[in-house]
C-alpha cells in the first residue's frame, strides 16, 4: 500500500487520519507542522501528503510551495485540509501547487474515498 504523510498541529486530527489510513493498510508518517514535515521528508519519498493550512512555524501553503520546489515532490499529490469558509485559502493553495482539498469536517469514509480517488 501507499506511504502517506499527514501534517497537522492538532494531534487528534493526526491520529484520526493516521488510524483511518492504517486501517486500510497504508503507512502513515506524522508531522506537527510544515517545518517538521520538510525535515522528515529529506531523502524520503511518499505517495501522498495531506496537510492542514493553518499551522505554526510553517503553514500549509508554504509547505506546498517548498515541496513543489523539490524534484522528488514535483508531481506528488498534495491535499489540503480546509473548511467551508476558506475559499480564498483553497485558491492560494492551488496557486502554490496543491492537488486538491478535503473540506472539514469529514468522516473516515469520506477521507478514504478521497484518498482512493487520488491513489487509484
Amino acid at each position: 500500500m501507499a506511504t502517506i504523510l499527514t501534517v497537522d498541529d492538532t494531534a487528534s486530527m493526526r491520529q484520526m487520519i493516521s488510524f483511518t489510513l492504517n486501517s486500510v493498510g497504508h503507512d502513515v508518517i506524522q508531522a506537527s507542522d510544515g517545518k517538521e514535515a520538510l525535515a522528515l521528508l529529506q531523502g524520503k519519498k511518499v505517495d501522498l501528503v495531506i496537510a492542514d493550512v493553518n499551522m505554526p512555524n510553517m503553514d500549509g501553503i508554504t509547505l506546498v510551495k517548498s515541496l513543489r520546489a523539490l524534484a522528488d515532490f514535483k508531481f506528488t499529490p498534495i491535499l489540503m485540509l480546509t473548511t467551508e469558509s476558506q475559499e480564498s485559502k483553497r485558491q492560494q493553495g492551488k496557486v502554490a501547487g496543491a492537488t486538491g482539498w478535503i473540506v472539514k469536517p469529514f468522516n473516515p469514509e469520506q477521507l478514504l474515498t478521497i484518498v482512493k480517488k487520488v491513489l487509484g
Binding site: 514535483k74 508531481f75 499529490p77 501547487g97 492537488t99 480517488k117 487509484g120
Partner: protein
Amino acid sequence: MAIDMRQFHQTFFEESLEALASMETELLHLEKAADDNGHAVLAPDPEILNTIFRAAHSIKGGSSTFGFAEVASFAHVLESRLDALREGRALPNRRVVGLLLLSVDCLRTLIIAARTGKEADANAIDAVRSQLEKLENENTAVAEGTKSPAQNHRPDATHWHIVFKPHSRLFHTGNDPLRIMRELNELGEMKTVVDVSALPHWEGTDPEECYFGWNVELTTRATRETIAEVFCWVADECRLEINSQPMPKLAMTSRGIAEAVASMDSHMDTLRVSVPKVDLLINTVGELVITQTMLSQITNNFSFENLSQLFAGIAQLERNTRELQESVMRIRMLPLSFAFNRLPRLVHDMSQKLEKKVELVIHGEQTEIDKTVIDRLIDPLLHLVRNCLDHGIEPPMERLAAGKPEVGVIHLKAYQKGGNVVIEIRDDGRGLQHDRIFAKAVERGLIASDARLSPEEIAEMIFLPGFSTAKTVSDISGRGVGMDVVRNNIRSLGGGVEIASEKGRGACFTVRLPLTLAILDGLSVQVGDQTYILPLVSIVESVRIRPEQVSRPAGGCELFALRKEYLPLLRLYDLFHIESRSTDLSQGLLVIVEADGKKAGLYVDDLLGQQQVVIKSLATHYRKVEGISAATILGDGSVAMILDVTGLIRLAHSGTSHMPGNGGNASSATTIAPNMN
C-alpha cells in the same frame, strides 16, 4: 476524401443475411418456449430477446448508413416492436412470433432486392408492415397499464458530452487526468477520444507538460453536479464543458445498445477466419523456414555421408508443404451450420402446413466444408429435408396407428470421413414405398411392367429425371424439381447421394461431398503431345473400339455402339485442333464419360494415370473457353487443361463435333493448347 460506400455493400449484405438467420433461429427458440408454456412466454430469456434485437438494430444501422432506405424503414418498425418485447412492454405469443418470422422474410426479400437491384413485392411487405404497426399500437395501450413502478422513479440515463482540456501545467499540482477518467468511468458507460492536436513534435515535447485533451461520451444516471465534482480540484486548471444530449430512445438500456454497437463494428470485415486457423498457418510456415534452414545447411557443405540427412530433410519439406496446403485450405472452410441454420425454419413452416408434427435434430453442424460447396449445397439440402417431411413422415394419426410416437423426427448429421464430408438426412417415417415407385416408373415408361428389380434398383429410380411420386403437385415438393436435380447438383460438386430405406422405419439419404473444390481427383489423358485432365467422378469406363462400331448419320456427329446403346463420339484432337498421334480409332482409347444422365465417348491417345490436381481458374488467367472448365499445373511445370465434361457432352448431343461459334476458323480454338504460357 470521398469514400466510396459501395465497397462495404457486399459485407453489409452478408452480415445482414447472417443476422437474419440468427434472428430466425432465436425466434424459433422463442416459439418453442411459448409452446412449452402454453402459448405465451411469461418470462422470455432476455439473452434471446437481446440477440434478436441486436440483429434488427444492426441491420437498421447498416442499411441507413449505406442508403438502403426501404430496408432501414422496415427494420425500424421491426426494431421498435422488438424493443417493446425486450423491455417487457409486450409478451411474445405465437401470433407475435409468427409475425416476426414473416418480418424476417420481408427484410430478407428487401435485402436481396437491394443486392440484385430488383424491386421487391411492395404489397406483401406493406401488409406485414401494417400488421407490425398495428401490434405496435396495441402495445402502447398495454404499456400504460403495466409499466413497472421501479422504472418510474429511477432517473433516466442521460448522455453527456464532456470536453476536458487541462492546462499544460496540470501535472505540477500533482493532478493526473487518468485519475479523473477512472472516476468518470465509475459513473456509467464511457467512451473517450483523446485529442492530441496540441502535441508538439517530439523534440519540442516537455514530459512535464500536459498536451492532451479528452472528449468523453458518458451515459449515466448521475446528475451534472456529480460529474462536475469529479473535476472540482482542476476546475480552474482546465477548459471544461459538460453538455447533456437527449438520448436516442433506443439507448435507454445502455448495455444492450453498447453491445449492439460493438457487434456492428466487429462485423465490418469480410474475411472471417478464426484466430486458431491463422495461428496454425503461422506455425506451419515457421516449421517450413526451419526445414529450409536445415536443408541449406546440409547442402552448404555437402558430402555423401549426410545424404540420408538430405533425404530426411526433403521428407520433412514434403510434410511441411502438405500441412501448409491443408491449413491454407482450411481458411476457406466454413462450418456447415451456415447451410443447416435454414432448415429449422423450413421444418417449422412445412410441418404446420402439412399438419404433421416433426422435430429436427441436428448433429455435427460444426463440421467444416469449403465455402463454395456450402453455397451450392443449400438448395439440394432443402429439397432432401422437404422430401422427408412430405413423403417420409406420416400424419400424426397414421403414426399413432402404426405404434410410433406422434412426433416424427428428422435427424441431420454431418461428419468428416477421409477427404469427404458426409451428411445424413434420416427420418423415422414410412420409408420408401417400393411398390408405388415401381408402379410410377412403369407408368412413366421408365421400365417395363415385367422388369425384375432389386429393392436397391427400385430406390434408385427416384433419381431418374422426371420422376415424382407426389399424388398431387403441392408447393412443397414435386414442383418439377426432382431428385434428379438434387443428385446432379451434388454431383456437380464432385459428390454423390445415396438412399437407404427400411419399410415402416424410415429412410436415410447420405450425401457425400469433397472437402474442397480447389483440388480435384482426375485422370490424365494424352492427346497428341498435350495432357488433359478428366474429373474422375464423371468417368464411367474406358474401352477400345473397332472402327466398324462407329457410324455417322448424315449431318450429325459420329456415333458408336456400346452394348446396344448409341453414344456420340468426340475426337478431342479434332475438337481442340491439335496434332494427334493416331486418328485411327482402333489405336487409341475411348473414355466414356457421363454428366446430367447423358453419356458420350471421348477419343484419346492414351490414359496416363490418376492424380490429384490443384484447380486454377482459366477465366481469371485467360478467358472462359468452351469445353474447358479450368487448368492445372503438372508436376513437371507444364499446364494441363481440365475438361468440362458437362459442356462436352452438351456439345456432343447438340450434334456437332465443332466448337460453337468456331465455324471454319480454327484459330481461336488452337489457343486452348496449353503451350500458351
